[in-house]
């Protein structure tokens, strides 16, 4: 069955956790024991309604403070599709967890509290959605019950977001605006009786219609080699299989391929998956490939079709989202992980900080702080084979790792 991955975004208390709980409830995805637990807790806390955020806020600290700290992955399905929704935190200090949840999403729901309208975190999250180039974005104007289901309020917010979208560099995005009440259930799964002026679909209806195939990933074929399989048994004495996952496009037996970065060429001899051989494998498949010639291939190398080569360079320009308390500064050194390939990287330039309200950049800053987004240039200890993020998401992104702490400190999008 197809799986659609959806991320939520929005400021604290805009109702993300409540919305997910409501979706689970209205699609009958909450099992009896989980529902009983929510009823019981809601009663204990003296609420006269069901506090659905209790379904997703899984950490003690979260329930104590009534906030979401880290991403929760929630699973449910309807007859037509399976869904994974990432419930993400709204606080600015947990933006990195929001990026974590959104990076693998094919669609995103940005919640806005109808009373407050577009606030700083809305800008930031909308910006990150654009940076990640998430194809389908729903702007869910929530808590409509608290603004008398006002069409004017809804239209004002819609206008503001449309204006922001007009300034975004990413033009391929489908924006959908839905007025709803997560708490009361209006336009979540069932159509609201309180907003006759809204002719569009309910949120669930909309999500059910979205294509689970990640069309964003359609591009040139990239096959980063994770490991070389050498059984060294009698039967498979000379077997050298290159294990990896196919990104971008398909691979077929007989394809002429180049091994990067060495640029030696060969032909695909066989495509294996477990104990079977195939003529062709589609993108997204983890398979094992053998080549006609005995060429030198090891982990981190990449197989591509001869006519579809990426950039091979020891330097790159990127936009980076910083995720560490210790700020990024020019001339610092990090490990870079580009897909399954590792190298060292030195920040040669911190060019600018990008303002997440789409109002421009700050040139030549001295450092990039936690949760800030900026443009940098990197020098690499060895050549990497990469694409621009806009052409190939998996081959156009990387992470930086602090060599002192081993923590993942930034995520980069190659220009």
């Amino acid at each position: 069955m197809k799986v659609l991955k959806i991320a939520t975004a929005g400021s604290v208390d805009d109702g993300k956790s409540t919305l997910i709980g409501r979706i689970l409830y209205d699609t009958k995805s909450l099992t009896d024991d989980k529902l009983e637990a929510i009823e019981e807790k809601s009663r204990q806390r003296g609420f006269d309604y069901l506090d659905f955020s209790l379904a997703t806020d899984g950490l003690v600290a979260e329930r104590e403070q009534g906030i979401t700290i880290d991403v929760a992955h929630i699973y449910f399905s309807t007859p037509s599709k399976s869904f994974i929704i990432a419930d993400t935190p709204g606080h600015i200090e947990y933006t990195r967890n929001m990026v974590t949840g959104a990076s693998t999403a094919q669609a995103s729901i940005v919640l806005i509290d109808a009373r407050n309208g577009v606030v700083e975190q809305t800008y930031r999250h909308f910006f990150i959605n654009n940076l990640l180039r998430i194809k389908d974005v729903v702007i869910a104007v929530n808590k409509m019950d608290l603004v008398d289901f006002s069409e004017e309020k809804f239209n004002a917010i819609k206008g503001e977001i449309e204006y922001l979208a007009s300034k975004s560099e990413y033009k391929g995005q489908n924006l959908t605006f839905i007025p709803l009440s997560a708490l009361k259930g209006d336009n979540v799964v069932d159509k609201s009786d309180n907003m006759d002026w809204y002719q569009g679909e309910t949120l669930m209806h909309h999500l059910e219609r979205l294509d689970a195939d990640d069309i964003n990933d359609e591009s040139q074929t990239r096959f980063p080699v994770q490991t070389v399989i050498r059984p060294k048994t009698e039967e498979y004495h000379d077997y050298r299989g290159y294990a990896g996952k196919i990104y971008g496009g398909d691979i077929e037996v007989g394809d002429e391929v180049a091994v990067l970065p060495s640029l030696t060429t060969s032909k695909v001899k066989s495509i294996n998956f477990f104990d079977k051989e195939y003529q062709k494998a589609k993108r997204g498949s983890s398979v094992t490939i053998t080549l006609e010639d005995n060429v030198n291939v090891s982990r981190g190398d990449m197989l591509v079709k001869v006519a579809e080569q990426p950039t091979i360079a020891k330097q790159l320009d990127a936009t980076i989202c910083w995720m560490d308390k210790e700020p990024l500064q020019a001339s610092q050194r990090y490990y870079i992980k580009h897909g399954v390939n590792d190298a060292q990287a030195k920040i040669t330039q911190l060019k600018s900080i990008i303002k997440t309200d789409f109002s421009g950049v700050e040139e030549n800053p001295s450092e990039l702080e936690l949760n800030q987004i900026g443009d940098i240039q990197l020098k690499l200890s060895k050549p990497l084979s990469f694409d621009a993020y806009k052409d190939n998401k998996s081959n156009g992104s990387f992470i930086l790792i602090n060599p002192k702490t081993n923590n993942t400190v930034g995520v980069g999008f190659i220009k």
Partner: protein
């Protein structure tokens, strides 16, 4: 030889990708094998990831001594077939030496005691990556887990400070003394696992299928009365019922469910229509709302 086009299913492809990352990034990985359906599924995925080579790491079972006999038989047959190494470490040894104290009474369970034995074994063998079959849909603290989850020497999970995990890049860099818990089927649901077992025709222990068993009822749950391991009050009446198990943890904390599902097709149907979650039959989670999170902080699977 079949010469067609293949599209590996997204969840299966992701799990295989994760297994290969583990082997490439760590020196001494181990697969934590309980004999349950999730770890059996892991074994099949590991086989697929490295075929035609053998699975390049051992399996380890932390044995509470309270396992269903069917599970142990099954385990031994599986490792024999695969030709992989099996390490067994017993909770009983720590009880005998007095390092840990066994609970007694109504809800007594050795489940918590596994943590101590696991941490000892990690240290004994110097494992730097422990692969487990936990899934995010099981429980709400587990819904917060990363795929590579870093633990310190005490096995502790620092849940408020997890590494960001973006796209499918997995950062396995750790300091000496740290280790990583790896969860290749994080994104699978219970139904996904059962459907996969059906599709792949994977063999699983017989207790997963409906069978007649002597049982008694306590707190609305059905317990096995076959064995001395599960504590039973005199007045709790033993009745033979048609039941099966949805998870096979320690016998003392795993309740059975009434079921007519005698084969895999029926089990998949039953799971699809079920209105109770899998861990609803685990008394260890019912101890408190935060039971799982607390156990994880202390180094549990």
């Amino acid at each position: 030889m079949s010469k067609e086009t293949i599209q590996v299913d997204a969840l299966e492809s992701e799990a295989i990708f994760i297994f290969r990352e583990v082997v490439a990034q760590f020196e001494k990985p181990v697969l934590l094998f309980s004999g349950g359906k999730d770890s059996i599924t892991l074994v099949r995925l590991a086989q697929k990831a490295f075929y035609p080579a053998k699975i390049p790491f051992p399996l380890m079972h932390i044995d509470t001594g309270h396992n269903f006999p069917e599970t142990i038989e099954f385990r031994d047959r599986l490792v024999e077939e695969l030709g992989v190494e099996l390490i067994v470490r017993n909770v009983q040894d720590n009880i005998d030496s007095g390092r840990v104290k066994e609970e007694t009474g109504r809800y007594a369970s050795r489940n918590m005691l596994q943590t101590e034995t696991l941490l000892d074994a990690i240290e004994e063998f110097g494992f730097d990556a422990c692969i487990g079959g936990a899934r995010r849909d099981e429980e709400k603290a587990r819904a917060k887990e990363r795929i590579f989850s870093v633990r310190d020497d005490f096995g502790q999970w620092d849940e408020k400070n997890q590494r960001p995990e973006v796209f499918d890049m997995l950062n396995g860099r750790i300091d000496l003394g740290q280790n990583v818990r790896v969860f290749p089927i994080s994104n699978w649901t219970e139904l996904d696992v059962w459907s996969y077992i059906e599709q792949e025709e994977i063999e699983i222990p017989s207790i997963y299928f409906a069978h007649k068993r002597k049982t008694f009822v306590r707190d609305g749950m059905i317990w096995s009365a076959d064995d001395a391991v599960v504590y039973r009050d005199e007045e709790e009446e033993v009745v033979e019922r048609m039941v099966r198990f949805r998870t096979v943890g320690d016998m003392s904390c795993t309740a059975a469910v009434l079921s007519d599902a005698v084969d895999i097709v029926k089990v998949v149907e039953e799971i699809r229509d079920s209105s109770i979650s899998e861990r609803g039959a685990r008394i260890d989670d019912k101890r408190s709302e935060a039971a799982m999170e607390k156990r994880k902080q202390q180094g549990y699977f």
